[in-house]
Each structure stands twice: as structure tokens, then as C-alpha cells.
């Protein structure tokens, strides 16, 4: 992604956490604590056993929480970089099965007929219905 631009600075040279590439991946520290608690809880463990047949490794959430707090409290830039690295890895692990799923071909653009008009009879039925009004309200609120 950054080929063709200037080389990113060597890691130790960042002094302001906001300038590190991909820092937007970092969540509020409380999220990491919450995920750790869920992962290590009894119900969470049961859920993991039900799905995977074994307990998942929760330590990464704890590590991320600690590193996140180190950055927040002491401006520890290498700690922030470790969190970014962990989030990037998590992102890769989640998206890889999606992109490697070759049961179907990936589209390059959405289907053209996504919004094709409904049959006239249906359109007439839908005029002035509850959803008709709410649909417009909802669309307006989403922009």
C-alpha cells in the first residue's frame, strides 16, 4: 500500500502515536479488557468448547489491554505499535478465510439490478405504508 510513497520511518522514530500508520485499528483499551473477560469467563469457555472443542487462547487480549494502557498512561509508543501489530494480525486472520473462500467468484462491482423497480402492483400496495414512510426517514438519518 505504501510502495511508491516515501519509506515509512523506522519504528523507533515515531514520537506521536497519531502518526503511526494503521493506528486507527486500535480500539479503546476497555474493549480489550472486555474481550478478555468474555474469553476467560465460564460461559465464554463453554461456548469455545462447544465450537472448537477446546479453550481458546485469551492472552493476546490481555496483552493488548496492557499495551494499550501503557500508551494511554505513559505514551509508550512501542507498546502502541505492538497493539497495532496485533490488530493487523487479527484482521488478517479474520479476512483470510473470506477472501480464500473460492466456492464462488468475487465480484468487482455490486449487481446492477440491486435496486431494480418492483412490479407496479407491488409499488402501488406499498405506497403510504408504515415502512414506506419509515424507509425515507431512515435513509435521511443515515447520511
Amino acid at each position: 500500500m505504501s510502495e511508491g510513497k516515501e519509506e515509512p520511518k523506522p519504528r523507533t522514530e515515531y514520537t506521536d502515536g497519531k502518526n503511526i500508520p494503521n493506528v486507527w485499528l486500535v480500539r479503546p483499551c476497555e474493549s480489550y479488557k472486555d474481550e478478555y473477560t468474555e474469553c476467560a469467563s465460564i460461559r465464554g469457555r463453554f461456548h469455545q468448547y462447544f465450537i472448537f472443542g477446546e479453550n481458546s487462547d485469551c492472552t493476546q487480549w490481555k496483552t493488548d489491554y496492557e499495551n494499550c494502557m501503557k500508551y494511554r498512561l505513559h505514551n509508550d509508543i512501542p507498546a502502541l505499535e505492538r497493539v497495532i501489530q496485533s490488530e493487523s494480525k487479527r484482521r488478517y486472520e479474520r479476512l483470510a478465510p473470506h477472501y480464500y473462500n473460492d466456492v464462488w467468484k468475487h465480484r468487482t462491482s455490486p449487481p446492477e439490478d440491486w435496486n431494480k423497480p418492483l412490479p407496479t402492483k407491488m409499488q402501488e400496495e406499498y405506497k403510504n405504508t408504515y415502512l414506506d414512510h419509515k424507509a425515507r426517514e431512515y435513509k435521511a438519518s443515515q447520511t
Binding site: 486507527w24 485499528l25 480500539r27 474493549s31 472486555d34 474481550e35 468474555e38 460461559r43 465464554g44 463453554f46 461456548h47 468448547y49 462447544f50 465450537i51 472448537f52 472443542g53 490488530e87 484482521r91 479474520r94 479476512l95 478465510p97 473470506h98 480464500y100 473462500n101 473460492d102 466456492v103 464462488w104 467468484k105 468475487h106 465480484r107 462491482s109 455490486p110 449487481p111 439490478d113 440491486w114 435496486n115 431494480k116 418492483l118 412490479p119 402492483k121 407491488m122 406499498y126 405504508t129 408504515y130 415502512l131 414506506d132 419509515k134 424507509a135 431512515y138 435513509k139 443515515q142
Partner: protein, 245 residues
């Protein structure tokens, strides 16, 4: 588009299979019989419809899973219009909802799905089919594609431990990794309902063939949410890290 939960509307064959479960799709308004009206309070089509539509709107405003699916679809270029893409109709009691690929609409069975929880489940399930149709060259005629999208929908929206137990896929002595069994059986049910020409063995063979790839493809929700936990909210909050905003 069958089963107690939902599935996909079947493909266009000359006989229009499966559309008999959704009589309003063919233009007939379903008439309740006298004893259904007397004993079950059936036939209140207009009030049911409004109640159903209110539940739908409520889900889009408040349900983290539905909001996440909406964001994911919008980010993929397939924004949902509440009026165009969703319809509340009276259907056969065997189904609770479905996806009509011909008109690109989610159908919610107003006479079956009466609670917000059910409507949430149906919406999320069908929006996963829409997500697959939006991002991939999905052909409901292709058994592999159908199996894959049903596996993904069952994986992400159904099969909590308790529903697996009710189905018979798990018990207190058989817990380990039973989630996958539950997903397989749910997907099998959906595929068979939509494709009555396929035998159980054929369907199982196809499901087994695509299972590994499709079971691990968790987009856009990203996790198998644990019922009665904040997992739905966590999935919603982490959506920006995966491009769904």
C-alpha cells in the same frame, strides 16, 4: 426459504417451487379459514402487517446485528432500502421468512414472526444471503453456492448450544465441537426445502464438500455470537476495523 427458521427462495423452475409457501409472492392474498379465525385469531392481516413493519424498523434502529449487516451491505455498495428490499407478508406456517432472489427482497412472515427477536433473527439470516449475493457471483441454481450461503447463515445466526440441544445435535454429554454438526444439519434442512429435487445424500455430499471453507468464512459478523452476551455489540463496534462503515 423454508424450515422453521428461514432459507432461500428456490430458483426459478417452471413449477415455481417453494413459491407456494409464499402465496402473496404469486399475487394471491391468503385467506384465513373460518376456524383459523375463530380459534387462532387469524386473519388480522392489516394489523399484523403494521406490527411486523414496526418490528422491522425497530431492528434497524436498535439491533446491533441488523445495524452491522446494514453497514456491511452499504459499504459493499448494496444499500438496503427498507421499503424496496423488505416485505411483510402472510406465508405458510412452515416458514418464518426468506429471501426472494428474483425481486431481491427479504420476506418476513408476519403471521409467524411476531416478536422483535424472531424478526431480528430472520433479518440477519437473510441479510447474510444478500451480503453473499452482493459481494460474490452467487447463483442460487448452483448447489455449491446454495450450500455455502446456507452454511454461513446457520453458522452466524443460529446454533446456540440450546438450539442445538433442541435439534438433537448436542446434549449435556455431547458438547465438544457439536456446533459444526448443528450448522450442517440446519444447512441440510434449508437446502432440501429449497431444492426438492435433490436427495439427502446429494445435499450432504455438497455440504461436506464446501463445509470447511464456508464454515470459517465469518464475514461480516466476524464471530459466532454467544447468545445472551454482549457479543453482538462487540461485533458491531469492531466493524470499522474491517471496512464496514
Amino acid at each position: 426459504m423454508a424450515d422453521q427458521s428461514s432459507g432461500s427462495t428456490p430458483v426459478d423452475k417452471e413449477d415455481n417451487w417453494g413459491y407456494d409457501l409464499y402465496p402473496e409472492r404469486r399475487g394471491e392474498a391468503a385467506q384465513a379459514k373460518w376456524w383459523q379465525v375463530a380459534l387462532f385469531g387469524a386473519g388480522q392481516v392489516k394489523t399484523e402487517k403494521i406490527s411486523c413493519e414496526r418490528n422491522v424498523y425497530n431492528c434497524f434502529q436498535n439491533s446491533p446485528l441488523v445495524k452491522l449487516m446494514y453497514s456491511a451491505l452499504k459499504a459493499s455498495g448494496c444499500e438496503i432500502d427498507l421499503r424496496r428490499h423488505i416485505a411483510c407478508e402472510v406465508c405458510d406456517v412452515k416458514v418464518s421468512g426468506g429471501y426472494d432472489p428474483r425481486l431481491n427482497q427479504i420476506v418476513i412472515c408476519q403471521n409467524v414472526a411476531r416478536s422483535k427477536g424472531m424478526v431480528q433473527g430472520i433479518l440477519t439470516h437473510e441479510m447474510i444471503h444478500m451480503f453473499d449475493a452482493c459481494r460474490h457471483e452467487l447463483s442460487f441454481k448452483d448447489l455449491n453456492h446454495l450450500a455455502c450461503t446456507e452454511i454461513r447463515a446457520a453458522n452466524l445466526t443460529h446454533c446456540s448450544f440450546f438450539s442445538a440441544m433442541t435439534q438433537g445435535d448436542a446434549s449435556f454429554f455431547r458438547i465438544q465441537k457439536q456446533h459444526a454438526e448443528c450448522v450442517k444439519n440446519k444447512a441440510l434442512g434449508s437446502v432440501l426445502a429449497v431444492r426438492p429435487d435433490v436427495t439427502k445424500e446429494e445435499a450432504l455430499a455438497v455440504i461436506d464438500k464446501v463445509f470447511l471453507k464456508c464454515y470459517n468464512d465469518l464475514e461480516p459478523i466476524g464471530r459466532r455470537v454467544r447468545r445472551n452476551s454482549a457479543d453482538m455489540i462487540r461485533a458491531y463496534q469492531e466493524r470499522t476495523n474491517y471496512g464496514y462503515e
